[in-house]
Amino acid sequence: MSRSTAEAVPALDERIRGEPLVAQGETLASVTETVCRIVEKPHPPRAWYVAFGISAMLAGLLFAMVGYLLLEGTGVWGINVPVGWGFDITNFVFWVGIGHAGTLISAILFLFRQKWRTSINRFAEAMTIFAVVCAGLFPAIHVGRAWVEYWMFPIPNNLSMWPNFRSPLLWDVFAVSTYMIVSLLFWYMGMIPDLATLRDRARTPLRRFFYGFFSLGWRGSNRQWHRYERAYLLLAALATPLVLSVHSVVSFDFAVSLVPGWHATIFPPYFVAGAIFGGFAMVLLLIVPSREWFGLKNLITMRHLENMTKIVLATGSMVGYAYLIEIFIAWYSGNAVERFAFSNRAFGPYAWAFWTMVSCNVLLPQLFWFKRLRRSIPAILFIAVAVNIGMWFERYVIIVTSLSRDFLPSSWGHFTPTWVDLCTLLGSFGLFFTLFLLFLRFLPIVAIAEVKSVMPDAKLDRDVHHGQGDYHGDIPRQHERQFGDPEAD
């Protein structure tokens, strides 16, 4: 669009255009300064030390619990016959789900040209990695004999031990490890230009070496930017199916079986929606204190928070839809066991868990219909915590209620967690927050280069132009085409 035409267009109404993505007063230089300073300051804020101390202690608790488990065996948990999966798989599904928001933001929102993602994608991607780290731990320890872990992988060996390729548990191994690799690549590749910025500003040899090593000789030339953007687009396209596939495969763990309450065809998309829902709640939970501690309110504005609450509302409503359809079809099926499975959830011994789940996942997020609450920090924090609790309970309800009471009343049982179960869950949060706090301290927590591309200073926000890329370089003028496009005819 040539400038003259752009000027002929009347300025967009403020209400249509929306608030700026980066608050007024920030310049290209100030963005670099704000983000880099977090890493370069000799001491982080006091709150960081407190949070890190607590998290590290909890992470220590986790390792102690894992050690105890490996010494004593899975008998230290509350699992029994018939409830063979308890906190272990609940925690696994919970943590895998948390990761999904990161991939959605970095891949799907990128393809959908949602420019507001630039301020939050680095956070969310980091969260994905750490959530998958926590998730991966649980299947590994729940098998009991962790020293024969490698049997889960299809490695040719002289025992002729092959995993069962028809089992969704094996598909999980592939799905989650692929997810981990692609997420890590995406996160790291996106960080290279910012790492180079840190390298260039580094004052100590140690910093210069590490940031220099990991920025892979980035110089910011046009050619490098061009390749970087192509690679970013391709990785986004590759990561997009992963957002759907990972949690779909996780849902297969349950849905392929005959267990009442597990075998529902809606499980794959329902699990995906739930994962994104829980993940966004976690992003909110992490981002609200971080922007406070590190002075990022100009980059992560109320508009960003509001957009995230809207996604929480949308995905929470999808989860509510799935609950309702499941219950309706359980009735509609006319199948006595299906009907029982759901009435047992709502009114049986685990009714408290079911209603916690419904209140936290379906009812509370509906408060986000009100703009006042979407822009209120206490409300956001409250609902984000509630959603995290609710999503953990969702998996607990699915796993425990269905296993504890299946077809034969003679084989019914009850699951009660032990102190080891509870400490392991608590400890996994410790590990997650420890890793996240280290990320906050040592890496560029906002994508500096991407944020700059949505600022007016970048001179790239031509009113009538919004394409896919981030426009670090020049763009060939393509839309002369609209006046007689030879290709289009």
Binding site: L258, I325, G334, H466, A488
Partner: protein, 392 residues
């Protein structure tokens, strides 16, 4: 106004031919012995087809407002017009609801239902009066929503009032909730209850995915036809076709994902009460229809739309779009018909006559819709951005 000079007559002729075909088929169904069930099945397939397209259009309109999209503004009026076909569909549903139920749905036959304990267990939901009430509610929601969004948008053509955009944006979120539930239960009612024993929780999403895909294909075709008629030639650019192509690709994959989820889970668990539905669709000539869907509804468009080139070339894209529209018809044939125990091939001539009849009426309705309305939201605040939009 716009299309009058061009083709006012051809719209009228399409409508007349459509009405004749539909009336002729109905007459034949009535008079020829044993033809009535064929007629009703054909009617159901045609009705479900055009309903799914208009629901897809309604979803598209709501989604554009919900996400405050700019790129799609030049296409939105066409979608609003397709969604407004809901009025015609409401009329077309009347014969089906009044005379077709007994022929199509085993649960509507009291004597049959009385001997079937499973159907009896669901009779609180599956009964004729409640079915009527539900369809009255569905159509009330759909026609009012479609009309409201069309009328607000047209109102803006005259006044240029930015507030109208904001009102539509605000209304789109609750409308989306209503849309989700009505569409899901409509799919359960109209198609899933053809076999009242069978159930699948994902069924509503399957119907939705197919409908949105079909609508997007129709939108490509409609944009092409409009441009061939000399309208909006500088407004809809290769960029818009490119984005539509991406959405077509995305929904092709989404449809396949949903279809696979349903199939795989039922196949793996292998419970007789669920597998029966697929067994019917994999026996005899229906097996060919199932395979045609696997290849034609997924692999062909998937491969055809993978590259950037066909998405940006109108002529290529419209071919894929027409292919998808045909596949969507086969999909509904596959969903609606096998439960009657009739062979898939050769299809009864009614499937063609009734389908073309409804198509003719829909074309006439579209002509009527745009006789007095502009083809673009002329004063939408984002129109300029939409026209100049480009994929980088």
């Amino acid at each position: 106004m716009f299309l009058e000079t061009l083709a006012g007559a051809s719209f009228r002729i399409a409508g007349e031919i459509g009405a004749l075909l539909l009336a002729g088929s109905a007459l034949a169904g009535l008079l020829v012995e044993g033809a009535a069930p064929h007629f009703w099945r054909a009617y159901l397939v045609g009705f479900a087809y055009f309903l799914s397209l208009s629901l897809g259009a309604l979803f598209f309109v709501l989604l554009q407002h919900l996400t405050r999209s700019a790129w799609s503004v030049v296409l939105r009026r066409l979608a609003e017009g397709i969604a407004a076909n809901m009025g015609l569909l409401a009329i077309l549903s009347v014969p089906l609801l009044l005379f077709g139920l007994r022929s199509l749905y085993p649960w509507a036959d009291e004597t049959l239902a009385a001997h079937d304990p499973l159907v009896r267990a669901k009779s609180a939901y599956l009964n004729v009066p409640f079915f009527w009430v539900r369809w009255a509610v569905y159509f009330a929601v759909w026609t009012l929503t479609a009309r409201w969004f069309l009328n607000r948008s047209v109102e803006q053509d005259r006044s240029g009032d930015v507030d109208l955009t904001l009102r539509m944006e605000r209304a789109s979120a609750p409308a989306m909730v209503l849309f989700a539930f009505t569409t899901t239960f409509a799919a359960f009612d109209l198609l899933m209850s053809r076999d009242p024993h069978w159930y699948s929780t994902i069924y509503g999403i399957y119907f939705f995915a197919g409908g949105v895909l079909g609508f997007l294909a129709l939108l490509v075709a409609a944009a092409c036809v409009t441009q061939r008629a000399g309208r909006m030639q500088r407004m809809i650019t290769a960029e818009h076709y490119h984005d539509l192509g991406k959405l077509l690709f995305a929904f092709t994959v989404f449809w396949a994902y949903i279809a696979f989820s349903q199939y795989m889970l039922i196949w793996y668990a292998d419970i007789p009460e669920e597998t029966g539905w697929y067994l019917k669709r994999q026996s005899e000539t229906w097996a060919w229809v199932s395979l045609a869907l696997l290849v034609g509804h997924f692999f062909v468009p998937f491969l055809a739309l993978l590259s950037r080139v066909p998405k940006r070339r109108k002529k290529m894209l419209v071919q894929v779009a027409l292919w998808i529209l045909a596949m969507h018809a086969i999909d509904l044939y596959y969903l609606a018909v096998p439960d009657s125990g009739v062979p898939a091939l050769p299809p009864h001539p009614f499937y063609f006559t009734v389908f073309l009849g409804m198509a003719g009426l829909s074309v006439a309705a579209a002509g009527r819709c745009f006789r007095t309305r502009s083809l673009v939201p002329e004063k939408d605040p984002r129109l300029q951005e939409s026209i100049a939009f480009e994929n980088a």
